[in-house]
Symmetry: C2
DNA sequence: CTGTTAGCGCTTTCAT
DNA sequence: ATGAAAGCGCTAACAG
């Protein structure tokens, strides 16, 4: 089943069939109709690989993420894919599993499959990877890493805004002794959240003591462990901000296990607003980073890059905002 | 950058390069070495589309699921993909969004991209879809639907086992007044869980009254709504089983909101064991359906189908088992 | 508006 | 063991 058969069936040349498929206006309405009929009758689907081979464009996009089982990503994937499919683009997804080694492999897969563009939405991205992609002329969108260039765009996330809002909220609730459980500080994005916290506190005239900063790992376990340390302090914090919701969920469990209650004894603020954040007991006050906005922006940036539009001066920034729920309370 | 350049660089023909890439043993060790060196030096990656075009095999697999943001799926996707990538296969994922209409579109995408096989892991699968795939000679694996055939395999899920274990557990805890919140009963898989519950109760000498069966939708909201009805009853159940964990989470919230406690006032058992099931307060007792097992089995079945091995007599069954946690208690 | 034809990059006979 | 050459299914000049 191929274009030749369709051509025979519709009594035209393969070129005409091709033109009809691709919506060229150089086909008379009557001919086009006949071709479409033949296509339908023969149940013909064009072979995308042949198309790719000749056109040089695969209409496939790569989406590299850290780990699909991390609740941060599924929504991102979904929105990205929805948008892409609407535009007739296929998406191939690759997980790095947070391992830089696997990133190289992911890139190789993308190159082999000749994707028209790649969105690297991992937290551990390395700008050096750009080289391999740019060498192949593959437009690439990063998150929080690197700069715009003719072949790449960077989506910046405004962690500061959300963290300021969280701090503001906590201060208005009379909290002053506030701790922060960070993510892995080798991640630039985690470091930035911590920095935003520290400078926000300083701006409000409070010097953050070392013991008020715990290092987590962006997973439940890290939150559990860090919160235990915080609870053991002579003067434990009255409120805790965390680098992501998973950390907050771990902290929440620890607080409960210690016989204390959120928000009665400790106020708690997460980050990300993953879908389960409002299902905890109490529902988690958190800072939302909209994955749909991120996905949509990334795809839009990628499309511009693919069209060869100059991106260097465009600023892609995703805001973050406080979402008040039940895990914070006045002191 | 193509095979011709490599050939020129290594001073051999393109055929020899091709043979080397494909590990043919008809290449002398010395020549092969030279070719590999050229490949490395030129940073050459074979064009998969050209390969597909000539070989007819794309080394891509389709994975159709209902919705990646449904916590049931990410793990399934991950394991499936991990296995596939290890074997040099790419996976393209499609979400149906639970809409049969979109399923047709997903299938079209798979056919267009010439996948070597498809795993349809949606809860709402329709065996009629097999036609389109079989007509194209695309091996297909279903979940809980259809039969084995030379071009398709069915993975059966043993819902009954898990539900019996749940019931057994509840009975041993002296519960007799047990309600069930089902999923959408147009889904065969939901109906089977309900049936297993009813027949399990009957086998234990208890006739299930109508008011003890509520219909949910496999989402939080359905669980909330159904649990409200149950709580309003003159004689509410002392224990509730649900068709999936999302439903149980909704029910859990409703019970708490009503000023009651789990498991003190009501025991609760979920289904699936999604990753958040052990993060609820209390941790959810549930029936585990291993997504890794499901994914691995599906891929293995698909591979056999692709190799043309006769599958008709093979029985693929995934067990389900009770996981005891904190949401059940003796009456 | 339509047809003819030369490739796209690779694999695979068929020779040698 | 290696090379020459014929396609895989499609698109895009070019010709008419």
């Amino acid at each position: 089943m191929n274009i030749k058969e369709v051509a025979k069936h519709a009594k035209v040349s393969t070129a005409t069939v091709s033109r009809t498929i691709n919506g060229s206006d150089k086909v008379s309405a009557r001919t086009a109709e006949r071709v479409r009929k033949a296509i339908k009758e023969l149940n013909f689907y064009p072979n995308t690989h042949a198309r790719t081979l000749v056109s040089g464009r695969s209409r496939m996009l790569g989406l590299i993420i850290s780990d699909i089982t991390n609740p941060f990503f599924p929504e991102l994937v979904k929105h990205f894919e929805d948008q892409a499919v609407q535009k007739g683009l296929e998406v191939i997804i690759a997980n790095t599993d947070y391992k830089p080694r696997r990133m190289a492999e992911c890139i190789r897969r993308m190159v082999e499959r000749k994707v028209d563009g790649t969105a690297i939405m991992t937290s551990e991205a390395d700008p050096a990877l750009l080289i391999e992609l740019t060498r192949r002329n593959i437009p690439t969108v990063f998150m929080d890493t690197g700069k715009n260039s003719p072949l790449s765009a960077n989506i910046n996330i405004d962690y500061e805004q959300g963290i300021q809002e969280g701090l503001q909220h906590l201060f208005s609730l009379n909290h002053r002794k506030i701790a922060f459980i960070s993510g892995p500080l080798n991640l630039q994005s985690a470091q930035r959240r911590l920095d935003a916290f520290v400078s926000g506190m300083k701006a409000r005239g409070i010097k953050v003591e070392n013991e008020m900063i715990e290092k987590g790992d962006h997973r439940i376990e890290g939150g559990v462990f860090a919160m235990r340390n915080l609870l053991r302090l002579a003067e434990p914090p009255t409120a805790v901000m965390t680098s992501n919701d998973m950390t907050a969920i771990g902290a929440l469990g620890t607080i409960h296990d210690a016989g204390l209650q959120v928000p009665r004894d400790v106020s708690l603020i997460g980050f990300d607003d993953i879908s389960f954040a409002h299902l905890t007991q109490p529902p988690l006050t958190t800072i939302r980073l909209s994955r749909s906005q991120l996905a949509i922006t990334a795809l839009a940036a990628l499309e511009r890059l693919m069209r060869g539009e100059n991106e260097e001066d465009v600023d892609y920034t995703i805001p973050t905002h406080l979402v008040m729920r039940g895990s914070t309370r006045t002191l």
